[in-house]
């Protein structure tokens, strides 16, 4: 979706405000909501679904609230969407109905195992071959996508060059919407500053961004 989260290339947000010796958490509620979101992955589902819950925040609220307030929004939206919590329960703090979960709540050892082991996103087997070669000239497709996507707006329609292939990875556009993992070839694509930002740009900076095959078309030179 063309959401407020898709910030790349916007101007006017002011200087970067870097705090010296910043603690991991500033407030205890940040600790708790971080842990709650992570522990809830077991029943709330894939990370792209959580990202999309944040993308669906009211845009003014998104900008006016801090990172861990976004995580409060994410867990509440998902828990309500999936029927684990109701508005009334959230208001009162009193648990009403109880929906059975697919798995028991992960205990501390399971959580530690998840953190140390990770959740790889690649789904490679011998059948998965990339269509594009390293060095291939491509164009990021210009697509209207109303749901979750990682095709950042600032690269849509722009030409670039494939610099790496990372195997086939879970496709965010479907997995965020319960439509399956549909693994797709994942590439890194290099875009020149002038192509991204305008013909008057003289800087020789560039952006490398990871894009799945359905986001790309081969670019043929000439007519």
């Amino acid at each position: 979706m063309n959401g407020i989260h898709d910030l790349g290339g916007l101007m006017g947000f002011g200087p970067v405000d870097a705090e010296k010796n910043e603690p991991v958490f500033h407030e205890d509620w940040q600790r708790r909501i971080f842990a709650l979101n992570m522990a809830s992955l077991a029943f709330l589902g894939p990370v792209d679904r959580a990202r999309h819950a944040i993308e669906r925040m009211d845009p003014l609220e998104y900008l006016a609230t801090s990172y861990y307030e976004h995580w409060i929004a994410a867990i509440l939206t998902l828990a309500k969407d999936l029927g684990y919590l109701t508005d009334e329960e959230i208001e009162t703090g009193r648990a009403g109905h109880r929906k059975p979960t697919p798995h028991p709540a992960p205990n501390a050892a399971m959580i530690e195992g998840l953190i140390r082991g990770g959740m790889p996103a690649n789904r490679d087997d011998s059948r998965t071959q990339p269509l594009l070669e390293i060095g291939a000239k491509v164009r990021a497709r210009n697509l209207e996508i109303s749901g979750h996507t990682r095709l950042a707006r600032y690269v849509r329609g722009k030409p670039g060059v494939v610099t790496a292939y990372h195997g086939h990875h879970v496709f965010p556009d479907t997995v965020a919407h319960d439509q399956g993992e549909h693994p797709q070839a994942l590439y890194t694509v290099r875009f020149e500053a002038r192509e991204l930002w305008g013909e008057n740009v003289t800087r020789r900076d560039c952006v490398y961004i990871d894009l799945w095959e359905p986001y790309l078309v081969p670019l043929h030179e000439g007519p």
Binding site: D6, L7, G8, G9, L10, M11, F13, G14, P15, V16, D17, A18, E19, V24, H26, E27, W29, R31, R32, F34, L36, A39, A64, S66, Y67, E69, Y84, L85, I90, G93, A95, K99, T101, A105, N107, A108, I111, L114, I115, R116, G117, P120, A121, R150, A152, Y154, A164, H166, H169, P172, L186, R190, L196, R203, R204, D205, V207, Y208, I209, D210
Partner: protein, 215 residues
């Protein structure tokens, strides 16, 4: 933007940048999060000990000290550096680091000609096993919006100036690939041990907004 120093100021989003909230706002958030925690525990959806374990790991075990060990090793061991640039996930695992948000690591090397800097414009993706949880500025709109279009102005705000002919490469972590910058080793550090070198390496240098300085 970079021609006008004051053009970054006066933005309306300053409220979102601050990590310090008013006491009243914090009380409100504290109560709201406590209600969510209590509900999820009552419903058997989360386990209290698991929550405490999560906080403990991310507050104490994971942080930029892990990444600093990886970088220091690469500086003193050319064979390790080759492995790190070829297969970062495996090379980082050699030092005992890996897992969630570090399943697919790529290390990008700074040289006299190329300077790398990492961002996630769409959310705040970050290599947790080697850098821990990201600092507030990395997650804020100011950094995420501007570093792709005007990286040199961001670097300047961190006190980093580069020659015109240095190529700045911005890595936007839009998938589950996580990037770590291998900064240049400062000059006149030949006498330092791997442990002493690791102490010079900070989080900012591994995101790519700062260079590593001697002492």
């Amino acid at each position: 933007m970079s021609e006008h120093d004051d053009s970054h100021h006066g933005a309306a989003a300053s409220r979102a940048r601050r990590s310090d909230r008013s006491d009243e706002h914090n009380r409100d958030l504290t109560e709201r999060v406590a209600r969510i925690e209590s509900l999820l525990i009552q419903k058997g959806l989360v386990d209290k000990a698991a929550l405490d374990k999560l906080v403990d790991i991310y507050e104490h075990d994971l942080g930029p000290m892990n990444g600093a060990k990886v970088i220091a090793r690469a500086w003193v061991d050319p064979a390790y550096k080759r492995r790190l640039l070829e297969n970062a996930t495996a090379a980082i695992a050699e030092l005992g680091f890996g897992g969630l948000q570090g399943e697919h690591m790529v290390v990008v090397e700074n040289t006299p000609r190329v300077h790398n800097v990492v961002v996630c414009t769409l959310c705040s993706c970050y290599p947790w096993p080697v850098l821990g949880l990201p600092p507030t500025w990395y997650k804020d709109a100011a950094y995420r919006s501007r570093v792709v279009i005007d990286p040199r102005s961001i670097l300047a705000e961190f006190g980093t100036t580069l020659e015109e002919d240095v190529e700045v490469r911005v890595w936007d972590s839009s998938a589950e690939i996580r990037y770590l910058v291998l900064p240049q080793r400062p000059e006149n550090t030949e006498h330092l041990s791997e442990e002493q070198l690791a102490k010079l390496i900070d989080r900012e240098s591994m995101i790519g907004v700062r260079k590593v300085r001697r002492s």
